[in-house]
């Protein structure tokens, strides 16, 4: 999927700065102020978006550590004991989530980009000098993969307004595997 949030944010900011803000009525002070503020907030989002995942992971790790420390240092009556038990029950699930969340989003993106490139190279090579059976398998697999991918991409982009019959497409929520 080429149309990612960071890519879109950049063009939104450029449109606002280059074309929209210069056309805002300078006498409408509130409009001018909020237009600049909108650009500023979008710029902050664009800058921080690549680190959002790392930030959340870091924070989760911090709280897992804090919960473990508190578990060894805090004691008290029934209320404290109950609260500690509830807190401790979340430590292992938190650690498990951290264990599974080891790749950065950019790593996912780069891995995908490299795999796409090499599949493309294989398609070109095998259509050039692959044996006949391989070429038939290749066609079948590439077509099936494209069908699945394009179904997902078209569904993802329904809000862009290009689909002649959006109701005919399966909602994208039903097309994505849950992250386990």
């Amino acid at each position: 999927m080429e149309i990612r949030a960071d890519f879109q944010l950049k063009s939104i900011i450029k449109a606002l700065k280059d074309n929209v803000i210069p056309a805002v009525d300078p006498n409408h002070k509130m409009a001018v102020e909020q237009a600049h503020l909108a650009v500023h907030v979008l710029q902050v989002l664009a800058d921080k978006l690549p680190m959002q995942y790392r930030y959340d992971r870091h924070e989760l790790n911090q709280y897992v550590n804090l919960a473990e420390k508190l578990g060894t240092q805090i004691s008290g009556g029934a209320k404290t004991t109950d609260a500690l038990a509830q807190l401790e029950a979340l430590v292992e699930p938190g650690k498990n989530t951290l264990e599974r969340a080891r790749a950065e989003p950019i790593e996912l993106e780069q891995a995908l980009l490299h795999l796409r490139a090499k599949v493309g190279d294989l398609v070109a090579a095998a259509l050039e000098d692959g044996d006949e059976t391989s070429q038939k398998h290749l066609e079948k697999e590439i077509m099936a993969s494209a069908r699945e991918q394009l179904t997902r991409e078209r569904s993802w982009l329904i809000p862009m307004g290009f689909e002649p019959d959006p109701a005919a497409l399966t909602p994208v929520e039903q097309l994505l595997d849950p992250v386990k």
């Binding site: 149309i3 890519f7 063009s11 449109a15 398609v123 066609e139 077509m143 494209a146 078209r154 002649p164």
Partner: protein, 397 residues
């Protein structure tokens, strides 16, 4: 992986060898790559453009003139457009004020094309179909910040005042009554372009493909495979498969026609008071080739919509596919061949993906245009083109 944002001369030379195109197309694409590592687009002010237009006209005109009333025009995803009035001594007319449009490239476009070719094509069609009169061209951006042409301001709208459409004039719904009137003109004018005797027209920037050969088809495949290779960020294996299939299945061109290259609703203006098509615009991908390329282009899904019955797909919001083919054959006297139509559905989908997914991405990533946000939205249509490519390949491959 190749750094496409900083193309080396060796890579450019390799692309030129692997994908030989018409000379003017090669010049445009080579220039695009050589400019790529350069600056992003920075907004140009109307005053700057007026000064540059004045410089151009000083070189072209010998009488006093004045550039007046400049204002921005919107519409289209490709070029920057400024309307203005020219007070001048027009040959054969005398002192007059002519409403004009400057059509100029940004630092990089969603589709990189030649202003000279566009100029020559519109000029050639002045007596064939309604087009705005063209006046001057700045092929290399000698006077203007970027290459540009100047043509007459054509009155009209791309869609009814009350109608909705997608970005860049896609999916326009003309409504039941207007569609009847426009459909007839739409088909007849396509037929007129395809049956026009272009051999006497001034088309110096075009190469003429041999009749009864696939030469012109190979030029088109080379053009768009080169663009895809130059600009795509994410690899799409289906595109490799499609390129290979096209090269193995190139049809012969039985009749070399002038082609518009982007013949669809959204690219013509009509006047609402009499429902007449007043001007065909956006000739930039036009060339000499097989009529089926234009016909197949018009039937692309994003240009049309479903009829009121919720079932029939209307080509460009006009008529059903069978009605379109029948009317075209009647108007042109030329046949519509399903097999060739399928080939060009694949070529057009490939071309549209090269433009809407690959070049649009590269231009926006580099901040190269005056409307990156529009290009970012147009990219949303590319997955429809890609799925059309897949479906057609599954049908015919």
């Amino acid at each position: 992986m190749i750094d496409k944002d900083h193309p080396s001369e060796a890579w450019i030379a390799d692309l030129r060898t692997r994908f030989p195109c018409e000379a003017e197309v090669d010049w445009v694409l080579t220039r695009k790559l050589r400019n790529r590592a350069g600056a992003a687009y920075t907004p140009v002010k109307l005053d700057q453009l007026c000064d540059a237009v004045t410089d151009l006209l000083n070189a072209e005109l010998h009488d006093a003139f004045e550039v007046k009333n400049p204002r921005w025009l919107s519409g289209g995803a490709s070029k920057l457009q400024m309307a203005f009035d020219l007070d001048w001594h027009q040959p054969g007319v005398g002192r007059t004020t002519t409403p004009l449009v400057l059509r100029m490239e940004p630092a990089a476009s969603i589709v990189e094309t030649s202003r000279l070719r566009e100029f020559e094509l519109i000029k050639a069609c002045e007596t064939v179909v309604p087009v705005p009169p063209v006046f001057w061209v700045d092929r290399e951006g000698k006077y203007l910040p970027y290459p540009a042409l100047i043509y007459g301001f054509a009155k009209g709208v791309t869609k009814p005042s009350t109608a909705a459409s997608g970005v860049s004039g896609t999916g326009i719904n003309f409504g039941v009554e207007l569609r009847k009137t426009l459909s007839k003109q739409f088909v007849e004018q396509l037929a007129a372009i395809h049956t026009f005797d272009w051999s006497k027209a001034q088309l110096s920037s075009f190469s003429v493909p041999a009749k009864d050969s696939a030469e012109g088809v190979e030029w088109q495949i080379n053009w768009w495979e080169r663009v895809w290779t130059e600009d795509a960020n994410e690899e799409v294996p289906l595109m490799r498969f499609a390129a290979k299939w096209m090269r193995a299945n190139m049809p012969i061109i039985d009749h070399v026609s002038l082609l518009h290259g982007d013949y669809r609703s959204g690219n013509f203006l009509f006047t609402e008071e009499n429902s007449q098509i007043n001007a065909w615009l956006d000739w930039e991908t036009g060339h000499l080739g097989d009529r089926h390329e234009d016909i197949a282009y018009s039937i692309c899904k994003p240009w049309g919509h479903l009829a009121e019955n919720g079932k029939t797909f209307l080509v460009c919001g006009m008529m059903s596919e069978p009605e379109f083919y029948e009317a075209y054959e009647k108007a042109s006297g030329l046949s519509v061949d399903k097999k060739r139509l399928n080939f060009y559905r694949i070529l057009n989908a490939y071309k549209l993906n090269s433009i809407a997914l690959a070049t649009a991405y590269r231009a926006v990533a580099g901040g190269k245009t005056h409307q990156d946000i529009v290009l970012g939205c147009v990219m949303g249509a590319s997955y429809l083109f890609m799925d059309d490519l897949r479906q057609t390949l599954e049908e015919v491959a």
